[in-house]
Subunit: 208 residues, 2 copies
């Protein structure tokens, strides 16, 4: 079923397009049960809208929608960064700092956003609020899904992103809540613009 969601995301996502359960069954070669569960899951993430007897409508993801998503994500993660200040163990912090320093200096690429997701997960868990951490994890899934849809990659912005990550970690290590929150806010504003640009790029290239 998890693979079904990935398949739906990878297929071309025309905003407003409708897909009935029967069409999805034919397209993916599975039965209606996993199709229904996958669509309900996507509805839970706010990616599709399920209308009775009308099929699932794929919601559009343009720059505006991405800015909205990142605005909510920012509320959650900025608070998590504030709460996590001074609460991440030294060894864990050092290993994260080493990883991002290496990435920044080597100019390496992280196509699956592996380190990025690890960083945000560690900060969320260090907040001490399980519910907040769980919501951030859910939004992480959403962000990853949207990245699939808009085809966002990290090429070109990687050194800058690593720097932003290091600023957040530095503030957390120094137990500076305000600085941690501010650094996270700035980082997510950059990420928001980057994602919106990817969406705009997809929109324009899909025109012809």
């Amino acid at each position: 079923m998890r693979g079904l969601i990935a398949g739906l995301l990878r297929g071309e996502w025309r905003g407003g397009a409708r897909l009935t359960e029967a069409e999805a069954v034919e397209k993916f070669g599975v039965s209606r049960t996993p199709v229904r569960e996958a669509l309900l899951e996507l509805q839970g993430l706010g990616l599709v809208e399920l209308r009775r007897n009308c099929g699932a409508v794929f919601l559009p993801f343009g720059p505006n929608e991405l800015h909205e998503i990142y605005a909510v994500r920012s509320l959650l993660e900025v608070e998590a960064a504030r709460l996590a200040a001074g609460k991440i163990g030294k060894e864990s912090l050092d290993s994260l700092i080493a990883a991002f320093t290496r990435i920044r200096d080597s100019g390496g690429v992280d196509p699956d956003w592996e380190h990025d997701r690890t960083l945000h997960r560690v900060i969320a868990e260090a907040s001490g609020n399980h519910r907040l951490s769980s919501e951030i994890s859910r939004y992480g899934d959403l962000i990853q899904s949207v990245r699939e849809i808009v085809g966002e990659r990290d090429y070109g912005i990687h050194e800058m992103t690593a720097d932003e990550h290091l600023s957040i970690l530095k503030a957390i290590g120094e137990n500076d809540s305000g600085a941690a929150a501010a650094a996270m806010k700035l980082h997510l504003e950059q990420a928001s613009d980057s994602a919106a640009a990817a969406a705009e790029l997809m929109r324009t290239t899909a025109k012809h």
Copy 2:
């Protein structure tokens, strides 16, 4: 299926208890398909944890969990109040103010939290951020579910709640973002304590 969720919520919610799909089928007299969808929905709200081949575990809801939930809710709704300042139409605002003034002065009771939910919905929609509004709506469902679980009622706190609502509306009407955010924050802190107290009461009375 919606009724199934209500049934699961109304049944005694012992934190940590496990319920297999087969048991739910026997208990509610429906087939596994709607049971599965209901459990997946509850998982999406973070009310149960689904472990493969182990049944669904009912997560506990004590004072600590409720404070966590309300902390997240506060992040969302405080921002919504800030954004909604000056954006609610006069007629809509006046009708809300009239309703809560009447409630406050008459000492009436709103057992299903009808007006409360309307107020928070109107503010969320006025924020202009559809995604934020959608998340607040989702948290409204969660809050309502938790109220069912812990048996929270609004008796006794109603005049105070109405006053808090009026403060929020006043600030929004005066286009004062800061005051609107502060009033909403205060209101949700009160609500958080009230919900936590209800959870504590349930815990202690369930002891014997």
